[in-house]
Assembly symmetry: D2
Homo-oligomer: 351 residues x 4
């Protein structure tokens, strides 16, 4: 019963098979492999972006930090949510890769709004050269609280950024989950809404470790390549990244995995909704939820070996009825049986 | 006929199998997987270093840059060969990860000597705070010209460094090839000689993409972990790095692959030695050689699709007898038939 | 009528005279001048800190950034007020000099409290290597809103930092103003309270451009020297920095200037207090105040050439009675006549 | 008898007077002072460059590092002489300000030639993204060995840089000394020859501490301003920098000081030329020379308190006839009597 994150389940068998299939003979290193040519073509097609520059790296933090470093000067500030992965979970990687840029936290909670974003941007550059210059806006989709910005919300945020002449980065570590929740196209969720550069996640959605970085404006392509190498993120045996991404895109595997993860989470939500002691902190939309239920239920789960983050409060405590918040994430692979077992434990039934 | 590098052949089947075997159920992310526990134990055992801190990253540049950043302040300078990978082939990654340290090039050619190293170190810090402070010494083993430092040479270089109180890093992208050429133990080639931190390469020697970073003094372990995360080199699905390294160490696969690559190269050398038009620039020792032969031979190879670097001169030219230098690298997988075909083409025989 | 800042008035004549006196014959460069020996001795004596390392730089941002870079790793975060100069007014200099550290904003308003500081520190390092490590606490004294932390408040903040094993930096750009307001000794306001490193400001208090950096623990002295040189803040003709600081310390000039500036501000406050339309945002303590009064008064001041920051709202507007906030700073040199003229204009009297 | 550097003599009285004259009333901070308007106009006029962006900083290292950081990406390499100040005497400041760029050392000795520069540039970017990209060329004028590039030499070097599309920086810490030695105009020695950005030194030539940074193409002006602030090199009481530079430019004081320093050095050279035991390492051109003479003469100088760098060898030694090299620098202020005394001591006469 692993609900801690979508980075701990197995890779999809098709991904493993693709890596095995790629393991024959010689292939040009450093991204010159022929599989990468196909990946590039597929991504351009998927995103309806025939001129996009497309690159692969192995971690989400690399995708985000390198992307931001291409659109941010060291004397600028990046606008993001206070709970953005780039702020909370990358150990200063954006500051490192950008050469010392600042992050300006926008509003409260996981979602920026046009109003909070406009206020935050307007507040910068009121101090001449004394404060940093305004830099890129970084949007996390899914947010770190499991919410999806609607296409309209994305469009409105991008419009604010564009009004100030600022580039927009989308951290799409859970791109597929968000898109399947919204029912839109990749283009609608990105460049058509005003996004300039996307971290298109594979790792959390069934891959071994691969993320695509898509620059809709290819002017920064060579700079990205140099920063990738300098950041030690250019793989010599690149074909194994390419093979993962090729397989991930083929037959819409990425969409199927994301749909499955979302469906798994919906089953979990449905089970918990029937449980009167559970209350949800955010409206469930995709594959990550935050909800609270009594300590006694947490203790039953813990004793049964369920793994997830107790988000607020601590398992230890005297009051069995105290409500503690849980973060629960479903990946594509978790079984109905485990989900139902989890729900039963929350309810207090013997599983 | 791919002799351009040892990073373009396939991974060893055992490595692929290990990744496939690891692809089952849930595994704790970010290096907390149980396979990593075994890897750590194996490496400590292999290196006779029970207290060593051991980490995995996916690229050699990451291993080198992160290692150096843990033992180098930004106001220091790193001593290395003028042809060191960290100087010529990492697009300023050491400068980036160290926060702006300098590289001081020692002597001429691929090998530092105690004399050239002592002179270079002595020349620094003669200018008070105006020049950089002396920082770590970085040794490449194999060198970028295919030579192996003997254990005595390593010991002597480390003694010079220690005499100035400086730490020593070993770039072991081709660690196995060097060790099998020398016939020594891992400990003899590292900490017993005076090395403090090692990049222990897997990628060029049959893995998909994994390098171990070994800190014999674990005091810097937490700093390394933080710098790895900040450099975006901490893998969430870390088990696939662990599985590669576990399999690489098991049954001495790494030594067998390295021996095979060296043997392949020895076959190539033997064939070329019988060819009167070939002269060697360095004494062949492991799996990489530099030799020169007439342009006509290069053209035959080129026409037959052989891939390798023409190291000096250009394929185009009027004089068929002009000697052009080639860099030739054998990986573990290249077949006797292809090696012989290459030799035949140099000789001018119809293959 | 210049109330915009204390960085626009003239230097004290004694400072200018000291620079002129120093302008004779040869003096060893780069801080080896004999005047610096006296400065070092005087500062150690003034701060009752016989082992302190003492250095001079020419700007407050240099003092702060270099100090922080000596006590902060690039994978750490600095704790400070949301209105701290290092956050709002140094264009990412702390991020630059630290190599990419983050700043964590503590609480609301200009003053950190033990409670808000403890909460902020506790919240970091709850995410393993994913978030930054806890780094130094930086306290601004005077705050950027003109308040002075009491010695007890400083002691309590330092105790929180020490409880977590963190170093404490004091940004004393207005050190003298704060100390004279509190009536304590330099030692009481620094190391006796738990401060480890101080930026001791001269520029805003009658000097041309000089700040002392005092490290009570001299272990980092050589690192500071190297970082100062690397930051291009080591002056060749250092004697002119030394001469300023020597004269600033002699006969307690720094205390006299600060007292005079505070007294000037007290006169301004007294005048404004008698003006019923003025309300103060913070209790005036030293030489900087924030207060609000009607737009009509602002317009009279503006027309008369008074210079200061309209801190909230804009001068242009229809409603003459709308209250707009002003930031008013007095330096040591401003005359009673100009202060009285300013007050008269607020009152609406013809000056 | 101070011949160690031109940074240890007094400032010219006119410079001190200008600072004193500026010390009256209020002046807008941070470069908005009215004196700076005049400085900007004078420099544009002096350099026949009506559109140039002009800024002031207080140290030569700041001028060089900030200038280079505006024309160099962190994944590039800077081309300079192996004895360039930016390489040997700035403790990694160019690496720091550029965010980790490399320095590629061109040829041997103090002067780059078109041939050595072309070779060095051509050698870079032969390795795709694995090596750094070509960045700016930095020329030191005077060189660190006291030589002046002729206008033709500068033009030829710039032509090589331009042929590769690279910007050119001139480190003019001793700009005046070089120009007066050549007898050319400021424009001829800079933009007319192909220089893009100049560090125009004042400190070594009679100022207290001020250098002008001149960007002939003002496109980078705002970036320079932000980098200056972020580097902590923007002075609040900027008027004292402006006043120095205004006075330095007025009545060609900078040219007079430089001529005087060169004349002082010529007197020294003439005296030493008459001394048969002295041999010159470089042809004396301006105010810095390198020459060798017997240890006995060095010891006489040392005993008499003369200060200068023994450039090779050590004062201590048995052989009174061993030739040791000296670096001797004359500033504008050194008297004929001291020069003659120095020469007499070399000759062995009782002074």
């Amino acid at each position: 019963m692993y609900f801690a994150s979508d980075n701990a389940g197995p890779a999809h068998p098709a991904i493993m098979q693709a890596m095995a299939d790629a393991n024959t003979g010689y292939a040009l290193p450093y991204g010159a492999d022929t599989i990468m040519d196909d990946v590039r073509a597929q991504i351009r097609d998927t995103f309806e972006a025939p001129n996009a520059a497309v690159y692969l790296v192995a971690t989400g933090t690399a995708a985000n930090s390198l992307a931001l470093s291409c659109v941010c000067q060291p004397f600028e500030t990046i606008f993001c949510s206070p709970v953005a992965h780039i702020h909370e979970d990358e150990c200063n990687a954006p500051e490192f890769f950008s050469g010392g840029a600042k992050l300006t936290l926008v509003g409260q909670g996981d979602k920026m709004t046009p109003q909070t974003l406009r206020t935050a941007i307007a507040n910068e550059e009121t101090r001449g050269v004394h404060g940093p210059k305004r830099g890129p806006v970084s949007i996390t989709q899914l947010t770190e609280r499991g919410s999806a910005y609607s296409v309209q919300e994305l469009t409105d945020l991008c419009a604010v950024a564009k009004g100030f002449g600022l580039p927009v980065h989308l951290d799409g570590a859970r791109f597929g989950n968000a898109m399947m929740a919204l029912g839109c196209t990749p283009a609608e969720m990105t460049w058509k809404a005003g996004v300039d550069v996307v971290s298109f996640g594979g790792t959390k959605n069934g891959c071994v470790g691969v993320e695509a970085l898509i620059l809709f404006d290819p002017d920064k392509a060579m700079e990205f390549e140099l920063r990738r190498k300098r950041g030690a993120h250019l793989f010599s045996k690149h074909r194994y990244l390419s093979a993962q991404m090729q397989s991930y895109l083929a037959d819409d595997l990425w969409q199927k995995n994301a749909s499955q993860a979302n469906a798994n989470c919906a089953r979990l939500v449905a089970g918990l909704r029937d449980t009167e002691t559970v209350s949800f902190m955010h409206e469930p939309q995709a594959n990550m939820i935050f909800c609270s239920f009594p300590r006694a239920a947490h203790q039953r789960l813990h004793d049964a070996g369920a793994m997830y983050y107790v988000w607020s409060g601590t398992l230890e405590g005297d009051d069995p009825n105290e409500m503690l918040e849980a973060r629960l994430v479903c990946d594509w692979s978790i079984s109905d049986a485990l989900i139902d077992q989890f729900v039963d434990l929350v309810r207090g039934n013997t599983p």
